[in-house]
Symmetry: C2
Subunit: 354 residues, 2 copies
């Protein structure tokens, strides 16, 4: 009997009991986000992600979120994940273009793909494979987790009527868009967020590019700058979940998939919420500041910005074969994707305008 019991216990331990313990094991991952949770829309994404991961896993996958208030380094989260200091990060990859210019291609390219084009290319046009190849070099995966959608061109105190008007124009516009404007003679400023409104009001700067109505509203730019220019510099601005490869490999297969599912759901929520909130806030802005005028740059300015953009992109491609590979893949799909977009969604709005 003792032998039978011992055998039974050994069997039970090896299979049922052990399997059950293992099934119920809680995996805890630490995430560093580049955004405070007070940011509209962007600040909600990691909370949604955490909730989905918890619920889909029946509590087995727990994410701890550290915002910049805690980790103090919103623009270093790439290195945090690379080094394994954090398992996960939520960020806009173009913050890291100083480290690797290719990071930019996953967020926003001036005159590049808009959100539906970018996502179609990523999942079906070879984007994911190129992303996996590139980020493996950093010991990470990069999983798309949302988008702000297209960003507006910014708030301008003066009209821009020709390329000559960009000469000496004092603009706050970060990243690649800033590089392009700088190449065309604009003077690019890096004024801290808290001082932007005052700088614009005082004329220390002539223009500020931020995001879109839901993000711009609380900063009040529309009260001191009359012209709201349409976008060219970020036709989409995708945000990503960076995942340390070792942390990922430690998860059981179903939790790896749940991690990706939670990211996709939180990302889809961000896009839908952003569209809804931009619509709602834009309608309020127009009512509260009826003087706001929406403008688009004239053709020679657009042509100049595009030429400068392509020169910078081509220069990067000449330096790095993988930059070239990604850029060429994007350009090839954008060409045919845009033709389809023009006869479908674009034509619908144009054709049915009242």
């Amino acid at each position: 009997m003792r032998k039978f019991l011992a055998t039974f216990l050994a069997f039970a331990t090896a299979t049922t009991l052990f399997a059950s313990d293992n099934d119920k094991k809680v995996y805890r991952l630490k995430l560093a986000t580049s955004y405070e949770n007070t940011m509209p829309v962007l600040g909600d994404v990691v909370a949604d992600f955490k909730k989905y991961a918890d619920e889909l896993s029946g509590g087995r996958l727990q994410i701890r979120i550290d915002t910049p208030t805690k980790h103090k380094a919103p623009f270093e989260v790439f290195d945090f994940v690379k080094a394994g200091q954090y398992d996960l990060a939520y960020t806009a990859l173009y913050y890291f273009k100083g480290k690797d210019p290719k990071t930019m291609l996953w967020t926003a390219v001036p005159f590049g793909m808009n959100t539906p084009e970018q996502h179609a290319w990523f999942y079906y046009g070879g984007g994911k494979e190129l992303s996996d190849k590139m980020f493996a070099q950093y010991n990470m995966k990069s999983i798309p987790m949302g988008s702000t959608g297209i960003q507006m061109g910014g708030w301008f105190r003066k009209e821009v009527n020709s390329l000559a008007d960009l000469q000496g124009l004092k603009v706050r516009i970060p990243g690649f868009g800033g590089e392009v404007m700088s190449k065309l003679g604009a003077s690019i400023n890096t004024i801290p967020t808290g001082e932007l409104y005052m700088a614009l009001e005082m004329g220390t700067i002539d223009a500020v590019e931020w995001v879109s109505p839901v993000y711009d509203m609380s900063l009040g730019f529309g009260k001191v700058a009359k012209y709201y220019y349409t976008g060219w510099q970020e036709p989409t601005a995708d945000t990503h979940l960076l995942v340390n490869n070792k942390s990922y490999e430690k998860l059981p297969k179903d939790l790896q998939l749940i991690l990706e599912a939670a990211a996709r759901m939180a990302g889809e929520d961000m896009l839908n919420k952003g569209f809804y909130e931009n619509s709602r806030i834009w309608s309020q802005m127009k009512t509260q500041n009826p003087n706001i005028e929406v403008k688009s740059f004239p053709k020679d300015v657009v042509d100049g910005l595009r030429k400068a953009t392509n020169e910078i992109l081509d220069a990067e491609a000449a330096k790095d074969p993988m930059f070239k590979e990604i850029l060429e893949s994007q350009r090839a799909f954008q060409k045919i994707g845009r033709e389809w977009y023009k006869i479908s969604d674009f034509a619908y709005i144009q054709n049915t305008a009242e």
Copy 2:
């Protein structure tokens, strides 16, 4: 010892073994789809959904898919789920507008919201709450699972230059779009799919509305009709997963969420895949049939179609308060959503066109 063993077994059965059995219990659900798995894009959605449900649940949620070849009734899947004959169905809800005209409002409304507008409204503008309220009456939930994106206006052998040209025009266009065209004097046909190409070639019909390049390509309409009109009748065409409430309630909480997650992921895939494939196939179509001309209806035709659309919608709203409630909610969001779309994605394409 025997007593001890019995106690141990009872304990093991009641806790560990039972809990483990329960954790590992496999839930099997039957799904009836309206589409054969040979349909491009649309045919892949349920297979993606099944795969995601399996993987995210570690095998605990198993979906059996029956296509029309098996169940013989693509347009009766609504009743199958209502009655509990199937747990799930995948379909376009407007097939059931004869049963309840409100079903149409979830799929496509002529001159209505496009895909980003519809999804922003559904998740953040009150759509989901109205859907839950409406489908509870049928003992179901309706979960969005993809979209074809906007559909083209159809293949026409002759140009439509004025409202008068619609008089007696023989058009194959189903559903609400057909009702609208009929109201304006067109003669609406219901020719089986397999005979459409011949009917168009022989002039038995003058025009056929199908979907978009990836769906239209294999039917060859571009070879016999020169004009490809842009869309007005289905600015989005969302597809849905219908879920029997009793089947849903039998699932543990985490599997309920996994069911919804799998639907959302398969739906997002459909939209991205559709955009990619439409782009790819449209570029082939233009190369193979350089004579295809993309046209949009002139203003008086658009105005006439819109007026007829609104008359039909308003008549339905007058008959059913819930139809009115959903329609008003959609119209209110469309108004502000379209204003945002026009200065964002639309302006970008317009402003940067070469």
